[in-house]
C-alpha cells in the first residue's frame, strides 16, 4: 500500500466481487464509502454507522465484517464480496434464493447484511438449529419482518445445501 503522509492519501488495492481495484483514499475513509461511492456498489447499506445494526455487513476474506467500522486501508489486499457479487450469470446465490422463497425481506434495506451473515454462518455450520440461527443473526437488525421469515430462509438455505 502506497501512502503519502504529506497529502494524507493512501492507495488501496483490493478485490471486490472478483474484480481488482486500485483506489486512492484518505486514510480515514470507510470501506463502505469506497464500496458505495467510489465503486458504485450501492447494494451495501448503512443503517447506524457504528456497527450495531449489521446492515453494512460484507464478506472480507470470507468473514463477515462491518464495512461502516472498517477503514478502507484495512481492506488493502483483501477479497471483498458484497451483495452484488453473490448472484452469477446462472442466477442468484442459493442463500438469495432461500430469502426469495421465504419472503425474508420487506423493505430490503437490511437484506444484504443478513445475506452476508447467513453465508458466513452456513460456511461455519451447515445445519444450524433455530436457536443457533437466531444467535448468529443477533448482530443484524431488521425492523420490518419480525425475523421469522429470515430464520425460515436460513433453514431453507441450509436444507438446499445438503
Amino acid at each position: 500500500m502506497d501512502t503519502d503522509s504529506d497529502t494524507d492519501f493512501a492507495v488501496v488495492e483490493l478485490t471486490v466481487n472478483g474484480i481488482g481495484h486500485r483506489v486512492g483514499v484518505e486514510p480515514r475513509r470507510l470501506l463502505v464509502d469506497v464500496l458505495r461511492e467510489d465503486l458504485g456498489l450501492t447494494g451495501t447499506n448503512v443503517g447506524c454507522g457504528q456497527g450495531v445494526c449489521g446492515s453494512c455487513t460484507v464478506l472480507v476474506d470470507g468473514a463477515s465484517a462491518r464495512s461502516c467500522l472498517m477503514l478502507a486501508v484495512q481492506a488493502h489486499g483483501a477479497d471483498v464480496v458484497t451483495v452484488e457479487g453473490m448472484a452469477t450469470a446462472a442466477g442468484v446465490h442459493p442463500v438469495q434464493q432461500a430469502f426469495l422463497d421465504a419472503q425474508a425481506q420487506q423493505c430490503g434495506f437490511c437484506t444484504p447484511g443478513f445475506l452476508a451473515t447467513t453465508v458466513e454462518l452456513l460456511d461455519r455450520n451447515a445445519k444450524p438449529s433455530e436457536a443457533e440461527i437466531r444467535a448468529a443473526l443477533a448482530g443484524n437488525t431488521c425492523r420490518c419482518t419480525g425475523y421469522q421469515h429470515i430464520v425460515d430462509a436460513v433453514v431453507r438455505a441450509s436444507e438446499a445445501a445438503s
Partner: protein, 802 residues
C-alpha cells in the same frame, strides 16, 4: 356468476388471495434497488447538520467564518440566514407553533439543527461543523408534560402564552349519567412510553434547483411526495407546479417518513444557495435526535363503567400527551383513535379528554398505529383490570361484550362506522389455535414448580384506509374540511399485449407492486408475472396519498377495478367490432377474448396491435391507444357535525384481531421468554396472504418492542439518552418468537373485492396481549402493570419483596 348482461371476465386462477412471491423481492435480494442515498447526480454536494447541545436555549451568536473557509465547503447556513431562501415548515395545526428547518433565535430541543453545511463530501461537511462556534444562553428546560403544565413553567413557544397547546374533552353520549348508573367503575392510571419507528434507513433528500427554469426536483424517502407540491411549496419558495417529487424505494417507514419537511427543507435551502444538487442524509444520531417522528408519550386516567354482570356501559379516558417542542401534525395522534376508541366492544358512550403539552423534546410524528395503538392498550388494560376486579375470566368478559356479527355496519358513539366483522369467531379461532386450556394447565403445573408462566389475550381493532380528516376536525367550531385521500392507477396494454401499471407512490416495504399485479390479473385474466409496474413522479402523477394508515391495498383494489373496467370496455368494443359479435356474447379469459360457444377469438396482443397501429380496424370514431386511468376515492364516509359530537365516518374500513400470548418470566433476571404466540386477524379479503402475514409478524415484533424494550429517554436537562441503536433498543432475532398467523375473512361491504387494510394490526394488538401475559405470569407476586416498557429491571423489582 353475473346476472346482468354484458361480456364475461374470467380466469383460470383466483389471483386475489393467491399466495404468490412478491414482485419487489428479486431486486431486494440482489441489492439492485435504489434508495435515496444511492442516488448520484452530477455535481452533487453533501450536507451535514450542527445540532444543539442544549434542550432549551437562546442562540446568541454563531460564527461560521472558519467553516466557510474550509476547502471543499460550498455553503454554511444558520437558521437566520436560511430565511432568505426557505420559509417556515408547513404545519397541520391551527395554533401558531412556528418551526424552521434550522432553528431561528432559539433552540427548543436537544439536537435541533442550528447550522448546516454543504460540501464536496460528507467528510468535509462534518469537518466544517467542528469549525462552527455557537454561543448559547441556556433557558430553563421543560422536561416533561407535567413540568410543562406547572404554574410559572418556562415557555417552549412564548407567543402561545402556555405550553398547553390544545385541550378539549370530546364527549359522545351521556357519559356522566352512564357512569352514575353503573354498578362499578374500574380505574387505572396508565403510561405509554415515547417510542420511535427507527427504520433501518434514515431520512434523506436530494434536491436540485434549476434557477433558470425555477423548477425544483426532490428525490426523498418521504411519503410527502404526494402532498409535497402544496405542503412544501411555501417552505421551499417554489410554486407548486414547479416542484417535482420523485418516488424512490424506502428502507422502512412505519409512518415515520410521512413528511420529512425539515430534511427536504435543509437540502432545498442548500441547493438554492449553492446552485448545485444537495443531498442531506441523516445519520443514525440525526434520526434518533431530530427526525420529528417520535411517538405519543401519554399519561392516562382511564375508567370503564360496567354493570355487576360485566356488561360494559361507558368509557372515560383523560390523556395528557407530551408532544415535544413542535406541533406539526396537531393532535392527529389523539383524534385518530376516535375512529375505534370503544374497541371491538359494545360501549354506548365515551369521553376522550385530551391535553396536549409542548416540552423540550423532539416532536411527535406518526408511528404504526398512529395513536390508536395506545388506546388499544389502554382499553385492553381496563378490560383485564375489570376481569381482575370482578373475579371473572378475562376471555369470557371480552366475549360477553364483543359487538355481535349481525350488528354491522356498526356506528360507534364517535360517529365512525365499523364496516363488517365476526369478532367472536376470531376469538374462538385464536383460542383454538393457542390451545388455551392446555396452557392454563401448564401454567398451574409450572407455578407448583416455582416457574412463572403467564397468558395474555387481547381483542382489538385495526382501522384502515385513512382519509386524513383526523388532522383537521379537532378545531371545534371551525369549518371542518373533510379530507378524502384518493389513490390512482394508470394501466396500459401495449401493442403486443403487455400490461404496464403506473403507480404514484413510493415503495415502503409493503407490497404495492405485487398486489397491483394480482388485482390486474384478477380483472383481466392474465398472469400477474406479466404485469410490469412503473412509479411516476408527481409532475406526471395522478391523485395519490401513498402508503400509510393501512390504505394501499384497499385503495389500489378500487383503482385497479376502475381502470380495468375502462380498459375492458374498450377491449370488448374492439373485439366485438372485429369478430362481428355482440359484446354480450364475449368473454375475456386468460388473456384471450372469445365469442362464447365459438372458435372466434382475439388475444390481448391482437387487440393491442389494432388499438395502436390499425385505426382502420377500429370502430368508427374510436381513439387509438389502449390506456386507462382511474382515481379511486374512499368508498364510504359521512361528515362531522359542527360541535364534533359526531365526527362522521372518517375511518370506516375496520379490521380486527385477537392475539394469544404465553410467556415464561424469570423473576431473578426479568427475562421474558415467549412460549406461544398466536395472532388471528380479519382484514376482509386477503389479496396476498404471505405478504400480509409478513406485515403482521413484523408489526408484532414492534409491538413486543414497545411492550418490553423501546423508549426514547430524556434526562432532566432534556438531553436525549437514546441517540443510537445501542441505547434505543429494538428487538433482535433472539427476542422475537415464531408467530402463528391465521386469517378470517369477513369482506368489507364497501371496498373492491371486500379488502381491508392490515399493515398496522400486528403492532396495534401485540402490546396489550404481551403486557397481560407478563402481568399474569407475575400474578403470584401481586404485580400490576400500568406502564410500558416492562423493562427487565421493572420485572425484577415487581418480583422483589417490598
Amino acid at each position: 356468476m353475473s346476472t346482468t348482461t354484458g361480456p364475461t371476465t374470467g380466469h383460470s386462477t383466483a389471483w386475489v388471495g393467491a399466495d404468490l412471491p412478491r414482485k419487489e423481492d428479486p431486486a431486494l435480494v440482489r441489492g439492485s434497488i435504489a434508495y435515496v442515498d444511492d442516488l448520484r447526480l452530477p455535481g452533487l454536494l453533501h450536507a451535514a447538520v450542527l445540532r444543539s447541545p442544549h434542550a432549551h436555549a437562546r442562540i446568541v451568536a454563531i460564527d461560521t467564518t472558519a467553516a466557510k473557509a474550509l476547502p471543499g465547503v460550498h455553503a454554511v447556513l444558520t437558521g437566520a440566514e436560511s430565511l432568505d431562501v426557505i420559509g417556515p415548515l408547513a404545519r397541520f395545526c391551527a395554533e401558531e407553533v412556528v418551526e424552521h428547518a434550522i432553528a431561528v433565535e432559539k433552540v427548543r430541543y436537544f439536537g435541533e439543527a442550528v447550522a448546516v453545511v454543504a460540501a464536496e463530501s460528507r467528510y468535509i461537511a462534518e469537518d466544517a461543523l467542528a469549525l462552527i462556534t455557537v454561543e448559547y444562553a441556556p433557558l430553563p428546560v421543560v422536561a416533561d408534560a407535567e413540568a410543562g403544565m406547572a404554574e410559572g413553567a418556562a415557555l417552549v413557544h412564548e407567543n402561545l402564552g402556555s405550553n398547553v397547546v390544545y385541550q378539549h374533552a370530546f364527549t359522545f353520549g351521556d357519559v356522566d349519567a352512564e357512569f352514575a348508573a353503573a354498578d362499578r367503575v374500574v380505574r387505572r392510571e396508565l403510561r405509554w412510553p415515547r417510542a420511535t419507528a427507527a427504520p433501518l434507513e434514515t431520512n434523506g433528500a436530494v434536491v436540485r434547483f434549476d434557477a433558470a427554469s425555477g423548477r425544483m426536483d426532490v428525490w426523498s424517502n418521504t411519503n410527502l411526495l404526494n402532498f409535497g407540491a402544496w405542503v412544501m411549496s411555501a417552505t421551499l419558495g417554489v410554486a407548486p407546479h414547479m416542484l417535482n417529487f420523485h418516488p424512490l424505494s424506502v428502507g422502512g417507514s412505519f409512518g415515520s417518513k410521512h413528511f420529512l419537511a425539515k430534511q427536504i427543507g435543509i437540502a432545498g435551502a442548500l441547493a438554492k444557495v449553492t446552485g448545485r444538487p444537495v443531498k442531506f442524509m441523516e445519520d443514525r444520531a440525526d434520526n434518533l435526535l431530530a427526525s420529528d417522528a417520535q411517538a405519543p408519550e401519554r399519561a392516562h386516567v382511564a375508567e370503564l363503567a360496567l354493570d355487576a354482570d360485566g356488561t360494559f356501559r361507558s368509557l372515560r379516558v383523560k390523556v395528557v400527551d407530551d408532544y415535544g417542542a413542535y406541533f406539526m401534525l396537531a393532535i392527529a395522534g389523539n383524534t385518530n383513535p376516535l375512529s375505534q376508541i370503544v374497541g371491538p366492544y359494545r360501549i354506548g358512550s365515551v369521553t376522550y379528554d385530551v391535553t396536549a403539552v409542548l416540552t423540550n423534546k423532539n416532536q411527535q410524528g406518526v408511528l404504526r398505529g398512529a395513536g390508536s395503538d395506545v388506546t388499544n392498550w389502554v382499553l385492553e388494560r381496563l378490560v383485564d383490570a375489570a376481569a381482575d376486579e370482578l373475579g371473572v375470566d378475562p376471555v369470557e368478559l371480552r366475549r360477553k361484550n364483543l359487538i355481535p356479527p349481525d350488528a354491522f355496519p356498526y356506528k360507534i358513539p364517535t360517529g365512525n362506522f365499523y364496516d363488517s366483522g365476526d369478532y367472536p369467531a376470531v376469538l374462538a379461532r385464536a383460542l383454538e389455535l393457542a390451545d388455551l386450556d392446555r396452557w392454563r394447565a401448564e401454567q398451574e403445573r409450572a407455578r407448583a414448580e416455582g416457574r412463572y408462566i403467564g397468558i395474555g389475550v387481547a381483542c382489538a381493532q385495526q382501522r384502515s384506509t385513512y382519509y386524513a380528516s383526523e388532522f383537521w376536525f379537532h378545531n371545534i367550531g371551525a369549518p371542518a374540511p373533510f379530507t378524502t385521500t384518493a389513490e390512482s392507477v394508470r394501466m396500459r396494454i401495449g401493442p403486443t399485449g403487455g400490461i404496464t401499471a403506473t403507480l404514484f407512490a413510493p415503495f415502503w416495504g409493503n407490497s404495492q407492486e405485487t398486489v397491483t399485479a394480482q388485482l390486474i390479473a384478477a380483472e383481466l385474466g392474465v398472469d400477474p408475472a406479466e404485469v410490469a409496474i412503473d412509479l411516476a413522479p408527481t409532475m406526471h402523477g395522478l391523485p395519490s396519498a401513498g402508503p400509510g394508515g393501512s390504505r394501499m391495498t384497499v385503495m389500489l383494489s378500487g383503482a385497479v377495478a376502475g381502470a380495468s373496467k375502462k380498459l375492458k370496455d374498450k377491449i370488448f368494443e374492439i373485439a366485438a367490432h372485429q369478430l362481428e359479435a355482440s359484446p354480450d356474447d364475449l368473454e375475456l379469459r386468460d388473456g384471450v377474448v372469445s365469442v362464447q360457444g365459438t372458435d372466434a377469438s382475439m388475444s390481448l396482443a391482437d387487440i393491442g396491435m389494432a388499438a395502436y397501429w390499425q385505426k382502420a380496424s377500429l370502430p368508427d370514431g374510436m381513439e387509438s391507444g389502449l390506456e386507462a386511468s382511474f382515481t379511486y376515492d374512499p368508498p364510504f364516509f359521512t361528515l362531522p357535525n359542527a360541535d364534533r359530537t359526531d365526527l362522521g365516518a372518517f375511518y370506516p374500513i375496520v379490521g380486527h384481531g385477537c392475539h394469544v400470548v404465553v410467556v415464561e418470566v424469570d423473576p431473578e433476571t426479568g427475562q421474558v421468554e415467549f412460549l406461544k404466540y398466536v395472532a388471528v386477524h380479519d382484514h376482509g379479503t386477503v389479496v396476498n396472504p404471505r405478504s400480509l402475514e409478513g406485515q403482521i409478524r413484523g408489526g408484532i415484533a414492534q409491538g413486543i418492542g414497545v411492550a418490553l424494550y423501546e423508549r426514547v429517554a430524556y434526562d432532566a436537562e432534556g438531553r436525549n439518552l437514546t441517540a443510537s441503536y445501542d441505547e434505543y433498543v429494538v428487538p433482535g432475532a433472539p427476542d422475537v418468537p415464531r408467530v402463528e398467523v391465521a386469517f378470517l375473512q369477513t369482506p368489507s361491504p364497501w371496498t373492491a373485492h371486500g379488502v381491508k387494510g392490515g399493515g398496522e394490526g400486528g403492532r396495534m394488538i401485540a402490546p396489550p396481549a404481551v403486557t397481560r401475559a407478563v402481568e399474569d405470569a407475575l400474578a403470584p407476586f401481586g404485580a400490576r402493570i400500568d406502564e410500558l416498557p416492562i423493562a427487565m429491571e421493572t420485572i425484577v423489582g415487581l418480583c422483589s419483596p417490598p
